[in-house]
């Protein structure tokens, strides 16, 4: 499986224009939010927490057509389906690589961006930690949706269907970021972790099922 992860990384790095796109979109979106509040600091810190989740989601949506559609279009997916590696494992690896290559770079600049929202440094660390544990579910939900809409090339459809599925994660994430409770195993945080684990576990199976339906 390590070997497969390595190879998938290589592919993403070679065709990685979408990573730069997501990155610049994220920065642009966040700074626009910061500017729009006209320096009203109490408004700004509340807005920042929502903005960071929203920007993250939008950046991920931008890159979703790279996650599996290219393999489907080129026909590579057919060979992955009949390979010795179960398709669920392949999909899990692909999603993990998507998360590491697209989301991690965004999380690295997040502390810098949050400072423009005048969020205190203690809170920045907490927000990044919550993003780190909450964001995998964005990638894994994205994989499910991409697989469900494989035959439909319309990205509008993809986006419209996707948004409601993201609501639980988004709401939980924003709620946790805004929570003043510093105990990181409090109920709201546990809910967020549970949500992430749940999507990581079900995503490969639902995605694989959707792909097989598409090929039958």
């Amino acid at each position: 499986m390590l070997n497969i992860l390595k190879l998938e990384f290589l592919i993403v790095l070679r065709s990685g224009s979408h990573i730069g796109l997501a990155f610049s979109f994220f920065l642009f979106f966040m700074l626009l939010f910061a500017l729009s509040s006209l320096g009203n600091s109490s408004f700004l810190s509340g807005l920042g927490l929502t903005a960071v989740w929203l920007s993250l989601l939008m950046s991920i949506l931008l890159t979703l057509n790279k996650i599996i559609h290219e393999d489907f279009k080129s026909g590579v997916l057919e060979y992955l389906l009949i390979s010795d590696i179960p398709i669920e494992v392949t999909l899990f690896c692909k999603t993990l690589v998507h998360w590491v290559s697209v989301v991690i770079p965004l999380l690295i600049v997040t502390p810098l961006v949050l400072i423009t929202f005048q969020i205190s440094s203690d809170n920045v660390a907490k927000v990044v930690f919550i993003l780190l544990l909450g964001s995998p579910s964005l990638s894994f939900i994205g994989m499910m949706i991409s697989c469900l809409t494989l035959a439909n090339r319309s990205s509008l459809l993809l986006t419209t269907i996707t948004i409601p599925f993201y609501f639980p994660t988004l709401l939980l994430g924003i709620f946790c970021c805004a929570s003043t409770n510093n105990n990181l195993i409090a109920f709201e945080y546990l809910l967020l972790y549970a949500n992430t684990l749940f999507t990581i576990v079900i995503s490969p199976y639902i995605s694989a099922y959707a792909i097989k339906l598409n090929y039958s």
Binding site: L7, G75, L81
Partner: protein, 207 residues
């Protein structure tokens, strides 16, 4: 590579696409060392037939037996025994042939040496985008040789290949049959393949 004895039988297979019957009552059976050639004009359903056997199309009538066991309802189990070569090259953009071979080596648990395959098929060192169609086909054939499967479904394997490439393919195919494999080949150039077992889907007659 030691392969077991294998047989595949297709019984009265019919398949419709969008309500139109494309394949009707196809029958054939093969055992180790045999190959069948499927011909017919464009759009007659050659690729569809391979996709049905491969399990990429589940709405068909009829039976597919592998080693006398009915696998009609188990596309997943069928796929584990089938090596496939599609008429599209199906390669990842941005990688070199060597990297692609390493990629599929991992996915097919092959013990082949990637460098040897590159040498055998005479593959270049640049990325796939800069490869010619024939070179892409060669990469596809290298991938096929790494699938250690007894049943080969080959979709127009020799198109775009030069004379040397065709010779290498025929060599690969012959050694596959010799080691106990069998193959179903669709082609527009039937003269190179088995003429004893041949189905023309247009006339739909077994010679």
């Amino acid at each position: 590579m030691i392969k077991k004895q294998i047989s595949i039988s297709i019984h009265s297979l019919s398949c419709a696409v969008d309500g139109k019957l494309v394949l009707e009552d196809i029958n054939f059976s093969l055992t180790s060392g045999q190959s069948i050639t499927i011909t017919g004009p464009n759009g007659v359903g050659k690729t569809l037939l391979l996709h049905v056997i491969l399990g990429f199309k589940s709405s068909f009538k009829g039976h597919i037996l592998i080693n006398e066991v009915d696998f009609s309802e188990d596309p997943d189990d069928r796929q584990e025994q089938i090596g496939y070569y599609g008429h599209r090259a199906s390669l990842q953009a941005g990688l070199t042939p060597l990297e692609i071979i390493k990629y599929w080596k991992a996915y097919y648990n092959s013990d082949a040496v990637a460098m040897d395959l590159v040498k055998f098929w005479g593959l270049p060192n640049n990325t796939v985008e800069n490869c010619s169609e024939g070179q892409r086909k060669r990469i596809g054939l290298a991938r096929l040789s790494m699938m250690q499967r007894n049943i080969w479904l080959l979709d127009e394997p020799t198109t775009n290949l030069d004379l040397e490439g065709k010779e290498k393919f025929l060599e690969l195919h012959a050694s596959h049959l010799k080691s106990g494999g069998l193959s179903v080949i669709t082609t527009h150039e039937p003269s190179q393949f088995n003429k004893n077992k041949m189905i023309n889907l247009d006339k739909h007659r077994i010679n």
